[in-house]
């Protein structure tokens, strides 16, 4: 045989074999054998003079048609044959799965609307869950990036007895750092840290760039904040150096190279820029825009600041030597505790130096220094819970829809079983379908989450970064999506596969209500969650509205204030006279504290003090100035205001709030006037007046005793303005700042907005609940929409018959929506008590609160009802409008 003929034959045989391979019945070895047979016949035919084409055609005709052979070969397959190579099973499986996937895709396409609802609902739920997951992961992984890792601790003092029992304070005086470092065993080194928000001057321009941290030079070893420019080993070595964030550098120097430039610290001293940070991490409790060496405190607070033992203002960190148990270090400091307590042996059990891992700081509000923002782990877990709930709602949706559709697919199951599909195969098929939906839903969810991430980050008030840069997180999300699909698909898969062909094909199943109960239960469950979330949202907002509208005892609406600087402080009387020339400025005052910004406590004495209070009694103190009462609108109910005409009113006159007056022992406010009273460090002075109680803290707190006193320790200037255009007032003040404090731009705030900051967490909670509620409702409604559409379709014929018999649109709508109405009512019964209880718990945290009114719960139920009804009603209405002539023909 010549090679040309041979090649042509081979080509023909190849295509014959390709055709055979498309049948799944043949194993490769079978095909080898059949091909060898084919060749024998071809050889024979060629020998008789046939052309290659004739030979192949003749031979393949002899060997038999592929389909006929395939069905014969199929009968010989024995699955358990131990001699069969393993990979062969896999080929079989693969082929089977290929078919499953094909069918699944076809089903999805065929049921377009349902698929869209399924995938859309799942996608929404997953997107929400993903965002929450990212948020929770963010909150749980603070301060994990420091190279010193497990050896890095923040120190705090646990008090076990006395006035401060249970107090865990993470504040230390600067002088204690060195003592602790030398007396404790196992401490490699300590780091001091405190913050200020100073004016930084470059050239003739001063501005605040944000928080500036004072840190011991070795802090850059302890914490990992890499530098883009500069040498971390020496950046803080010189007491007159400053390391800037990139944002701060841009603010101060624009596009110039900041390295080596001079920065003025107010009018105190000049610093040199010795470094610029890489973009600073957000997941750390240390938030700053610049770092300066802690030794700079000697210039800011006066010489001796570093050896001071009375200013308990510093964070103290300790890097322990590797493998050292912090409790052992704690124990080694016990002699020092005794020494600090003047040799009192018992004190070792009352005051304990403790070490808190830095990655524990963010989620542990129990240890506090009053400055670091921490997160409440309860909130985090609540988030996680709500996210899970929404995921469950989405999953339930899916289960529900798939089960409902099962009835439509019953016939498919019947036919497939009749032609030999076994239960396991069908289950696999349906599970695959739900996994596919899960996959598509996950993809959609990821997309949605990515789009929504920035707004969600704003909503929760945290910078979540890009969020999706971590492949493990992505994989986990993908897994979560698939898992949801699989779990949600399990029930319908098993349910569908259990259909018996004999019943299904006779059409008996359509009337069977077997899965109805579960389906209804799931709807009730879904709507319970929605109603619960509606109540929670309404409750949180109700409380917020109540707090905003509540009379606070001062007038927060028309007050504007700004942090003050030295030139303004020194000339304030002139500034005041100047701005008061303008009709828009009603009153002006210096202020050490403002409502919402009260952090000062002082000790006080008065005659007849209880024995308990003998040493002095600490009251929250508002450091004020003349005109303070008038500017803030505090109401004087007895006595008089501070007066410039009386020299003793400076520092030695006190105005109390009602609560303080009562606590000291004066039943009537008037009784307190002209009575003796003094601060711990002053000679005896006088109570000159009593003001009506006012809320200087958030309404989470109840009103405490307050003392108002004029001191030169001033941080703000406050202005009461007449109602009108705010921009005009800002212009006036900006001009005054420019005139009296050139180089210090004004950093003004409105008191109402500033006070509102206290409710940021509550507002955040309210926003989140709104977000979650809308999502839960949308997803629930998607499901309800699908189910009611399905129900209307299933009953098309019934509706037709009813219409023929005289039912009108109203009857039909009622008929179709009755079932769902009952379910929503049931959901309300389930959800209402739970929601009531949860809101009660939430509100218990407020000293001043609304109650959960039955009206609120009822209106939530009503809302759910209206939403559900409009979803179902539309379907019902549409179904009822169909001409019976059409509907009765439906097969």
């Amino acid at each position: 045989m010549d090679t040309g003929t041979e090649r042509e034959l081979k080509r023909h045989v190849r295509s014959w074999r390709d055709a055979m391979e498309r049948r799944t019945a043949f194993r490769p070895a079978d095909l080898d054998e059949l091909e060898s047979h084919l060749w024998e016949e071809i050889d024979r035919l060629i020998a008789t003079g046939a052309s290659p084409r004739e030979a192949v055609l003749g031979a393949s005709a002899r060997i038999g048609h592929a389909d006929v052979l395939a069905s014969e070969f199929k009968k010989t397959v024995v699955w358990a044959d131990p001699d069969r190579p393993r990979w062969h099973h896999l080929t079989w499986r693969f082929v089977m799965w290929k078919n499953h996937i094909f069918v699944a895709l076809r089903t999805l396409r065929k049921q377009g609307v349902y698929s869209a609802i399924n995938i859309g609902g799942l996608g929404l739920g997953l997107a929400c869950a993903f965002l929450i997951f990212l948020f929770v992961r963010h909150e749980l992984t603070y301060d994990r990036f420091h190279d010193t890792g497990d050896n890095l601790y923040r120190m705090y003092i646990e008090q076990t007895t006395g006035q401060f029992a249970g107090n865990n304070r993470a504040n230390f005086p600067a002088g204690m750092a060195e003592q602790i470092e030398t007396r404790g065993t196992g401490i490699a080194y300590t780091v001091l840290y405190d913050v200020r928000t100073p004016y930084l001057g470059v050239g003739d321009r001063s501005q605040r760039v944000g928080t500036v941290g004072f840190m011991s030079p070795q802090g850059l070893d302890a914490f990992t904040f890499p530098l883009a420019q500069g040498d971390p080993a020496h950046a803080l070595s010189d007491p007159k150096s400053i390391v800037l964030s990139q944002e701060a550098a841009a603010l101060l120097f624009g596009t110039q190279d900041p390295m080596g430039q001079r920065v003025a610290w107010g009018d105190v001293t000049e610093l040199t820029v010795t470094g610029v940070f890489m973009p600073l991490p957000t997941k750390t409790h240390l938030q700053f825009e610049a770092l300066v060496p802690v030794e700079l405190m000697n210039d800011v607070m006066g010489p001796g600041a570093m050896t001071n033992f009375s200013n308990w203002n510093y964070n103290l960190y300790a890097v322990l030597e590797s493998g050292v148990d912090p409790d052992a270090v704690s124990a080694s400091l016990r002699p020092y505790v005794i020494e600090l307590n003047d040799g009192d042996e018992a004190s070792v059990d009352e005051m304990i130096f403790r070490f808190q891992p830095v990655d524990d700081i963010h989620l542990n509000p129990a240890v506090t220094n009053g400055k670091t923002r921490t997160a409440d782990p309860g909130t985090i877990w609540m988030f996680l819970g709500v996210g899970l709930l929404i995921l469950v709602i989405a999953g339930v949706n899916f289960t529900n829809m798939a089960t409902a559709q099962a009835l439509q697919r019953a016939r498919e199951v019947g036919v497939r079983k009749t032609v030999g599909a076994v239960r396991g195969q069908l289950t696999a098929q349906f599970l695959l379908e739900s996994c596919l939906v899960g996959l598509l839903g996950t993809a959609l969810g990821l997309g949605l989450a990515m789009v929504a991430l920035p707004s969600f980050a704003t909503l929760v008030g945290t910078n979540l970064g890009s969020g999706f840069d971590d492949p493990t997180a992505l994989l986990m999300l993908l897994g979560a999506g698939l898992f949801t699909g699989a779990v949600a698909g399990l029930y319908p898969a098993v349910f569908l596969a259990s259909f018996r062909p004999s019943q299904v094909l006779k059409g008996e199943l359509a009337s069977r209500g077997g899965s109805g109960r579960i389906r209804k239960g799931l709807i009730v469950f879904q709507f319970s969650i929605s109603i619960f979330l509606i109540v929670a949202t309404l409750g949180v907002y109700n409380q917020l509205r109540y707090m905003r509208s509540m009379a606070l005892g001062f007038d927060k609406e028309q007050i504007i204030f700004a942090p003050i600087n030295d030139p303004l402080r020194d000339n304030f009387e002139t500034v005041r006279q100047d701005v008061l020339q303008n009709a828009r400025i009603v009153s002006a005052s210096l202020a050490g504290n403002l409502p919402g910004r009260v952090g000062t406590s002082r000790g006080y004495y008065w005659p007849g003090q209880d024995a308990d209070d003998e040493n002095n009694r600490s009251f929250t103190t508002v450091l004020a100035d003349y005109d303070y009462l008038q500017t803030l609108g505090l109401e004087l109910i007895a006595g008089r205001d501070f007066s410039r005409d009386r020299p003793t009113d400076f520092e030695d006159a006190y105005i109390l709030n009602e609560t303080a007056a009562r606590l000291i022992g004066y039943a009537e406010p008037g009784d307190a006037v002209d009575e003796p009273f003094r601060a711990w460090d002053k000679d005896m002075g006088t109570i000159i007046g009593v003001v009506k109680d006012f809320h200087f803290q958030s309404l989470h707190e109840s009103i405490e005793p307050v003392v108002i006193n004029i001191k030169p320790w001033i941080s703000y200037a406050a202005f009461r303005v007449s109602p009108g255009d705010a921009a005009e007032v800002v212009d006036i003040l900006t001009a005054a700042w420019a005139r009296y404090a050139p180089g210090y731009p004004i950093d003004y705030r409105f008191l109402d907005e500033d006070f509102d900051r206290l409710y940021a967490k509550d507002r955040q909670l309210g926003n989140l609940f709104t977000f979650f509620t809308i999502l839960a409702i949308v997803v629930s409604c998607l499901g309800l929409f699908g189910l009611s559409a399905f129900s209307a379709r299933r009953r098309t014929k019934e509706i037709g018959v009813r219409k023929v018999l005289g039912a009108d649109v109203k009857d039909i709508v009622l008929l179709l929506s009755r079932e769902f109405t009952i379910l929503v009512a049931l959901a309300f019964v389930v959800a209402a008590p739970a929601a009531w209880f949860a809101m009660d718990r939430y509100l218990a945290d407020f000293a001043y609160r609304t109650s959960v009114s039955p009206l609120l719960v009822l209106s939530a139920g009503l809302a759910a009802f209206v939403i559900a009804w409009s979803t179902v009603g539309w379907q019902a209405f549409r179904a009822s409008r169909v001409n019976p002539v059409v509907s009765l023909k439906v097969e």
Partner: protein
């Protein structure tokens, strides 16, 4: 032409017998042999032989090996195992009893007279 049912029924004894007759054989040869023996009246779709061979192999009556023809083509050779010989004995008995019955029926009875 011999009807399908009969062809199917006779495949097994035919294969066993042909293999018992020779040391070993392969599909193509077995079919040629059947065709020769029946003068082409027993006509298989060639491919249908193989499932039967495989089933016999799975029953443990045959063993197979891959080999090469004199022209170098791949061939799968089958050989009877002892169990195959035993099975053939059984087949023979069954077919013979059918055969005898038919022969008896079809032989004109000797006239009584």
């Amino acid at each position: 032409m011999i009807p399908k049912a009969l062809v199917a029924a006779s495949t097994r004894p035919l294969i066993l017998s042909i293999l018992a007759d020779s040391e070993e054989s392969y599909g193509y040869e077995i079919i040629q042999r059947v065709r020769d023996l029946t003068g082409g009246r027993l006509d298989w779709q060639d491919g249908m032989l193989y499932p039967v061979l495989h089933r016999l192999e799975e029953e443990g009556l045959l063993v197979a090996r891959w080999g090469r023809s004199e022209t170098g083509r791949r061939r799968k050779y089958y050989r009877l195992r002892p169990e195959g010989h035993e099975a053939l004995v059984l087949e023979k008995e069954q077919w013979m009893s059918v055969h005898q019955a038919l022969v008896e029926l079809w032989t004109p009875a000797p006239n009584a007279n």
